[in-house]
């Protein structure tokens, strides 16, 4: 079954003033929509993979593509569709969210020392990703939390990821995610992002990740 563009979980202006309405409209309606169309088109060449959900597609596809030595279309488009679907859900209207659960907070403190220290690491990963990419907070194979960044539309589920983890929070740092409002001021965008984090979703993601899985997208 072909992938479809999921609706935004909120109106395009819901994340104002931190993420502007025009960006949300174009980011979702043009960029993400194109990934959906393109991953469906790419899967025409790999019909045996059509039955995979988007998470499994990301987990297996990259190894598969390299083994058949094709251009890494699934890596780009399957990554792009997963990343954006995931991203909309970890954001919400500012002040609509209560913060990390006790369990998540404990895991953050254990891995990083404090919430502030985690944010510093995450922010550095986001600011330091040269070119296009994403920053991630996730559960590593050993069960602890980690921060990483990936290039382009890669994500830590993929075989190509330098540091594999189950993402629980992610931030798009492609310029299209922030340029209309922030232009070159990526650090300002990154700081603003914390105002729109949907901690309830992140808590759910964390709970599922501790069991080795992810909630349905």
């Amino acid at each position: 079954m072909a992938f479809v563009l999921p609706n935004l979980p909120y109106a395009p202006d819901a994340l104002e003033p931190y993420v502007d309405t025009t960006t949300m409209t174009i980011h979702h309606g043009k960029h993400h929509a194109a990934y959906v169309n393109n991953v469906n088109a790419a899967l025409e060449k790999f019909p045996e993979m059509k039955s995979l959900g988007i998470v499994d597609l990301n987990k297996v596809s990259i190894w598969y593509e390299f083994s058949v030595q094709t251009e890494n279309t699934l890596q780009h488009t399957g990554g792009g569709h997963f990343n954006h679907s995931f991203f909309w859900k970890v954001m919400t209207k500012p002040s609509n969210s209560n913060g990390p659960s006790a369990e998540l907070k404990a895991a953050i403190d254990k891995a990083f020392g404090s919430m502030e220290a985690m944010k510093e690491k995450f922010n550095a990963a986001a600011a330091g990703r040269f070119g296009s990419g994403w920053a991630w907070l996730g559960v590593k194979p050993d069960g602890s939390l980690g921060v990483t960044s990936t290039a382009n539309q890669d994500n830590p589920l993929q075989q190509v990821a330098e540091e594999k983890m189950i993402p629980i929070l992610g931030l798009d740092v492609w310029e299209h995610a922030y340029y209309l409002k922030y232009q070159n001021r990526r650090p300002e965008y990154i700081a603003a992002f914390w105002n729109v984090v949907n901690w309830e979703q992140v808590n759910d993601n964390f709970k599922a990740a501790c069991g080795g899985g992810m909630p349905a997208l």
Binding site: K30, H31, F130, G131, S132, N152, H176, L180, Q183, N184
Partner: protein, 227 residues
């Protein structure tokens, strides 16, 4: 590497820098735009230049200068820093900044007000010979720009004999590090076009080709690279 002669990057010549200071300073300069920031309107807006040149390009120069302050490369020219920091494909932290300074200078000089149209002379002959037609060159150049996934650049390059080809590179990579002589580039980092074109990268590249290319500059570079 063919492009590296006596440790200096004997690159395609760029037009004589009119405004570079004659006294060698230690810092890598933010070279001024070759035209006013509104000169390429409406195809590339003044606002875009204010950020692209005034912030992005400036930051690459500033950050490079911080990295090399007081070190050996502080006394070198930009071409040398680019080649040295490439470090044979294992780039040092300076490379991204140095190459991006180089790339942006090269990009501004690839454009001019009332640009576009077609080249003439030996360059046009070479284009027709190596691509079949000028239209086919445009198709391939546009395709390269469209398919450079994420951030990067599309290039028209020549070898010493004048054989033309199209190249695309990610992020800060510049084909000189692969021994090719660039003669034209388009920046396809989103910051190059997002204010004016948003997601419509193909439209941006088309407009760049139709309205902005300085074929004089490109021909100059071609002649000097193949001299």
């Amino acid at each position: 590497m063919a492009a590296l002669l006596n440790g200096k990057l004997n690159l395609t010549a760029r037009p004589a820098p009119a405004q570079r200071p004659s006294v060698r300073t230690n810092a890598v300069a933010l070279k001024p735009l070759p035209y006013a920031p509104d000169a390429l309107e409406p195809h590339m807006s003044k606002a875009t230049f204010e950020f692209h040149h005034g912030k992005h390009h400036r930051a690459y120069a500033d950050n490079l200068n911080k990295q090399i302050a007081g070190k050996e490369w502080d006394q070198k020219d930009l071409d040398t820093i680019v080649m040295s920091s490439w470090n044979n494909g294992n780039p040092t932290p300076e490379f991204n900044n140095a190459a991006q300074v180089w790339n942006h200078e090269f990009f501004w000089e690839s454009m001019k007000p009332n640009g576009g149209g077609e080249p003439t002379g030996p360059l046009m002959e070479a284009i027709k010979r190596d691509f079949g037609s000028f239209d086919e060159f445009k198709n391939q150049f546009k395709a390269a720009g469209m398919t450079q996934f994420g951030s990067g650049w599309a290039w028209l390059v020549t070898d010493k004999s004048g054989k033309l080809s199209i190249s695309k590179t990610p992020n800060a990579v510049v084909p000189v590090v692969e021994g090719k002589f660039p003669i034209l580039t388009v920046d396809v980092w989103e910051h190059a076009y997002y204010l004016d074109y948003q997601n419509r990268r193909p439209d941006f590249i088309q407009t760049f080709m139709d309205k902005l290319i300085s074929w004089d500059a490109v021909s100059d570079r071609f002649v000097k690279a193949t001299a």
